[in-house]
Symmetry: C2
Subunit: 276 residues, 2 copies
């Protein structure tokens, strides 16, 4: 399977959906609507939407069934980056080679644009008009809430690398990154009609891939002196090995799903072994 | 009807629900969870939850049916205040006689606590496990999004009082305040099983009451030199008259609903005529 081709097709599909779902850039308040789109387009790899599409395929459904959750997880991911970049948080001026939202539009508009992107995630799901949508919204709200994404970000900001252990690093990774990645896969599978047993497997798969994905970041960023990094505890080789172990265990969870889960497997390998 | 008694009963009901729904204050990350509760308890008048309960009653349902939306609108209202108070927004140090969240917990935690409160609003709705819940979530996401609440806040921040007209002031009031008030009433009525015709009336009622509620604030704050205030355009007496006209027109919308809508009427009168 051509994983780059799958990612490109997923990106085109979700971008069309998001472009149509969001208020147009010239609709008032135009400055706010432009700020909402600033980091969303052109965006990044669109890994989470691709995992949502592959989640639907893994339970035998067409990838398009996952569109609402694919759009929603990209909106949540984007909002979290906009807020993470704020001066009071990570204080980053650039992301993906462009000025961050608060640099381009000011801090107040960046806070509001993030708020609106998060809200829009639930709006696109609610519009899906699907019997299964309440469960998907519940999963997403849990993954994005104070026990998961926001809690992970909170603990990352005040991370004490002296007192840290490999377990405390992975706890941040699981909450800050893996919860939303698992919600992408499971949301796609839920909209695709997957049963509880398969949703459970896909959730465990998503959490393990998500932690391994974040460890891959730790390895790629080794030397950046990130306080919350598995590399500080296990070294580059040890961290790489831990990511591979998680990947193997994740793949074992979905072995039974056979050929329909092939895209999911390839995306998982890509997420953990990518060189950027 | 004893409107103060109705408000007190509504407050007790929604506070119990919110206290049970939110992570406990000592659950990690404890600092984040404490920050989420800081402005939520003891909170304000709980007018929006009361309107949600009264919305359910207005269509003949028990007020308890509206609990999920009553909790959700109070969470959205609270998140919007936490973010509004930030240094990059209104930069307020005190609210309801207490330090604002960013003064008590720091700016980063205040941003994250607001994010988590907004997310929790959708979580409590999704858990409602109700066939009508997707519609309620859609209404709330629209009312809280860039076309309404966040857009109103955006325009309020950069409000140009020189170029303003009564219409542009009311446009901010409608988006920043009235949309969420309408979503409270309509959400309660929707969970209570109201039909489309009554939901339409209640929405128009909620928007008019919401604008009048905000004009009542303009009157109470006259002299505070708020750039976005109807008092600067119509004077105190003119603004008061406009609020009464809106109230009258709102009450006419729900005249047909008879006795079950009595709490709604009393709450509307209170919202517009209160002296604080």
């Amino acid at each position: 399977m051509d994983v780059q081709g799958y990612l490109a097709e997923s990106a085109a599909r979700v971008e069309r959906f998001l472009d149509e779902s969001l208020p147009a850039v010239d609709e008032p308040p135009a400055r706010l609507h432009a700020a909402m789109r600033h980091l969303l387009f052109p965006g990044g790899k669109r890994l989470r939407p691709a995992l949502a599409f592959a989640g639907a395929e893994a339970v035998g459904a067409a990838p398009e069934r996952a569109l609402p959750i694919a759009g929603a997880v990209e909106l949540v991911h984007t909002y979290s980056l906009v807020h993470d970049d704020l001066p009071c948080m990570d204080d980053d001026d650039e992301r993906r080679g462009l000025p961050t939202v608060h640099v381009a539009f000011g801090e107040a508009t960046a806070v509001l644009a993030g708020d609106a992107l998060l809200t829009e995630a639930f709006a696109v799901l609610a519009l899906a008009d699907e019997s299964r949508v309440a469960g998907v919204i519940g999963d997403l709200a849990e993954a994005a809430g104070s026990r998961e994404l926001v809690g992970g970000q909170h603990d990352d900001l005040s991370f004490d690398s002296q007192a840290a252990t490999p377990e405390s690093v992975e706890s941040v990774h699981r909450r800050k990154s893996a919860a939303l990645i698992a919600a992408s896969v499971v949301g796609g599978a839920r909209l695709g009609g997957g049963d509880a047993e398969r949703l459970g497997r896909l959730r465990r798969f998503g959490l393990q891939v998500g932690v391994a994905f974040q460890i891959a970041d730790d390895v790629l960023d080794a030397g950046d002196d990130e306080p919350c990094s598995l590399v500080s505890h296990l070294g580059v080789e040890g961290a790489r090995r831990r990511a591979e172990d998680l990947l193997e265990s994740a793949l074992a969870e979905i072995e039974d799903l056979g050929e329909p889960a092939e895209a999911l497997r390839e995306l998982a390998r890509f997420a953990v072994r990518r060189d950027r």
